[in-house]
C-alpha cells in the first residue's frame, strides 16, 4: 500500500511545484517592478552582493593567473625569462601585472570622472549575470551611494570615454547594470565622420546592430560610433552625447531600400571589465 502511495505523493508534489512556478510567472509578469516578487528579488540581490564581492576578491587572482597562462604563447619574449623562474614567482609576476593594469584603469577612471562628470560614482564590478541569456554586471555601489535607476554607466579614460550600459536595478549596497550588448538595450547613435544618426541595438554575444534613420547613408568599415544627444519634450536622453560605443565591423547588405544596417563591435571588453563610472547627470555631460 505504502509503495503505491509514494509515487502519487511525488506526482502531487511536482504538480504543486509546477503550479507555484506558473503562478510566480503570471504574478511577476503582471506586477513587474512592484509587488512582493520584486521586493524578494531585491532582497536576494542585497543578500548576494557582499558574498559575490568577497568571492570575486578571492577568485580574481586565480582567474588572472589562469588567464595569464592562456595568453603565454603570445608573450614569447617574456616566456624566455619566465621559464627560468619557479612557479611561485610566475604567480607573483601575474598578480603584479594584473595590479599594474588595475592601477592604470583606476587612474584613467579618475581622469574620466573629472572630464565627464565630477559627481560620478566610481564602482567595482563584483559579479556578472547568472544567465547565458542576460548581459548584466553587478557593481559594489547602490542607492546608499547615490545610484539611481537609468543612470548611464561609462568606462575608459578621458581620451576614450566608452559607454558600458545603464543601471536597471538598485539595492542599498549594489546595483545591476544592463550592458549595451543586451537585446533589451537600445541607444541613439551617430557614425563618427558622417554624423549619420541611427538606433543601435544589442545582439547578445554578437556585435551590436545599428539601423539608420536615413536609408541613403554611406558607411565604411572601422568608423567609430558614438552616442547621440537628443531632447524630447524638454527631457534629455539617458546617455551623454559623444561617448564611444564601438567601431563598425560589418556592413549588412540591405534586403530592401528602406532599411540599412551595420554591425558595431563594442569598444568595451566586457570580459575584463573591472571598474566603471556611474554618471549622476544623465544626458548633460
Amino acid at each position: 500500500m505504502a509503495i503505491r502511495r509514494r509515487p502519487r505523493s511525488t506526482r502531487l508534489l511536482v504538480v504543486t511545484l509546477v503550479s507555484i512556478s506558473l503562478a510566480v510567472i503570471t504574478l511577476d509578469y503582471r506586477q513587474r517592478d512592484s509587488g512582493p516578487l520584486a521586493i524578494a528579488g531585491d532582497a536576494a540581490k542585497t543578500f548576494m552582493a557582499p558574498l559575490q564581492e568577497a568571492v570575486t576578491t578571492v577568485t580574481q587572482p586565480i582567474g588572472a593567473f589562469f588567464s595569464g597562462l592562456a595568453h603565454l604563447p603570445s608573450l614569447a619574449n617574456d616566456n624566455e625569462r619566465l621559464r627560468e623562474e619557479n612557479a611561485a614567482l610566475l604567480t607573483q609576476v601575474q598578480v603584479d601585472a594584473a595590479q599594474q593594469v588595475e592601477l592604470q584603469e583606476l587612474v584613467d577612471l579618475l581622469d574620466l570622472r573629472d572630464a565627464l562628470d565630477p559627481q560620478a560614482v566610481a564602482a567595482v564590478v563584483t559579479a556578472n549575470g547568472v544567465s547565458n541569456f542576460e548581459y548584466t554586471v553587478t557593481i559594489d555601489k547602490g542607492s546608499a551611494d547615490g545610484i539611481e535607476l537609468d543612470q548611464p554607466v561609462a568606462a575608459g579614460s578621458p581620451d576614450a570615454q566608452m559607454l558600458v550600459g545603464r543601471v536597471v536595478a538598485v539595492t542599498a549596497v549594489s546595483a545591476e547594470v544592463l550592458l549595451i550588448i543586451d537585446r533589451d538595450l537600445a541607444v541613439a547613435a551617430t557614425i563618427g565622420d558622417t554624423r549619420e544618426a541611427g538606433l543601435l541595438e544589442g545582439q547578445g554575444a554578437s556585435d551590436l546592430r545599428m539601423s539608420f534613420f536615413d536609408s541613403g547613408t554611406l558607411v565604411e568599415g572601422g568608423e567609430p560610433v558614438f552616442t547621440q544627444g537628443y531632447e524630447l519634450d524638454g527631457q534629455s536622453g539617458v546617455y551623454p552625447p559623444g561617448m564611444l560605443i564601438g567601431q563598425v565591423s560589418r556592413l549588412i547588405p540591405s534586403e530592401n531600400e528602406t532599411q540599412q544596417y551595420v554591425e558595431v563591435r563594442p569598444a568595451v571588453d566586457f570580459e575584463t571589465l573591472r571598474f566603471v563610472l556611474v554618471l549622476q547627470t544623465p544626458g548633460s555631460a
Binding site: 511545484l17 511577476d28 509578469y29 559575490q52 570575486t56 556578472n128 547568472v130 541569456f133 536597471v168 536595478a169
Partner: protein, 169 residues
C-alpha cells in the same frame, strides 16, 4: 530535515556565487556552465524524483530572483528536470560510472532548451536559433565535464546530511 534544508541551501548559494563570479572567467567557448542544472540533476540521481523536484524548484527560484527576466521560468524548468532525472535514474539499471555524466548532459540540454522555449513564448528571449542551439549544447557539454568533479563532492555532502535512522526493538 532541517540539516538537509540548510545543506541544500548552502549548495545552491555556493553554486550561484560561483556561476556569477569565477565561471565568468572560465567560459567554454563563450558559455558558462549551468550549475543549478548540475546540482538539481545530481541530487535527483542520488535521492530520487521527489528530492530532485524540490531541489530543482528551490534552485530555480533562487536563480530567478537574481535575473531581470520574469521570475518562475527557471523554477518551472528545474522542477521538471529534477523530477525527470530522478525518475530516469529509477528506470535505468546500470552501474556505469558514466551514467551521472550522461544524465547531466542530456538533462541540461533538454532543460536549457525547454527554458528557452518558455522564455521565447513569454517574449523574453529573442536570441537567434543558432545561438540558442550553441548555448544548449555547450552548457550540456560543460555540465558533463564538471560532473566527475561535482558528483563525488555533492554525494559526500548529501549523504552526510541524510537523517540517521534509529531502529528500536
Amino acid at each position: 530535515m532541517t540539516r538537509r534544508v540548510i545543506v541544500t541551501g548552502l549548495v545552491i548559494v555556493t553554486g550561484l556565487l560561483l556561476q556569477s563570479t569565477l565561471f565568468w572567467q572560465f567560459k567554454l567557448l563563450g558559455v558558462r556552465p549551468e550549475l543549478m542544472f548540475l546540482v538539481t540533476i545530481v541530487v535527483a540521481i542520488l535521492e530520487g524524483p521527489q528530492e530532485g523536484a524540490t531541489t530543482g524548484f528551490a534552485a530555480g527560484l533562487a536563480q530567478d530572483f537574481l535575473l531581470n527576466q520574469p521570475k518562475g521560468v527557471t523554477a518551472l524548468t528545474l522542477t521538471l528536470v529534477g523530477y525527470s532525472a530522478g525518475l530516469a535514474r529509477q528506470y535505468i539499471v546500470s552501474a556505469s560510472p558514466l551514467l551521472p555524466t550522461i544524465l547531466v548532459a542530456v538533462g541540461t540540454a533538454t532543460g536549457v532548451a525547454f527554458y528557452q522555449v518558455v522564455a521565447f513564448l513569454l517574449d523574453q528571449l529573442q536570441e537567434p536559433f543558432a545561438f540558442a542551439v550553441r548555448v544548449t549544447l555547450l552548457s550540456a557539454l560543460y555540465g558533463a565535464i564538471l560532473t566527475p568533479i561535482v558528483y563525488p563532492l555533492l554525494r559526500r555532502v548529501i549523504e552526510g546530511s541524510r537523517p540517521t535512522r534509529v531502529v528500536r526493538f
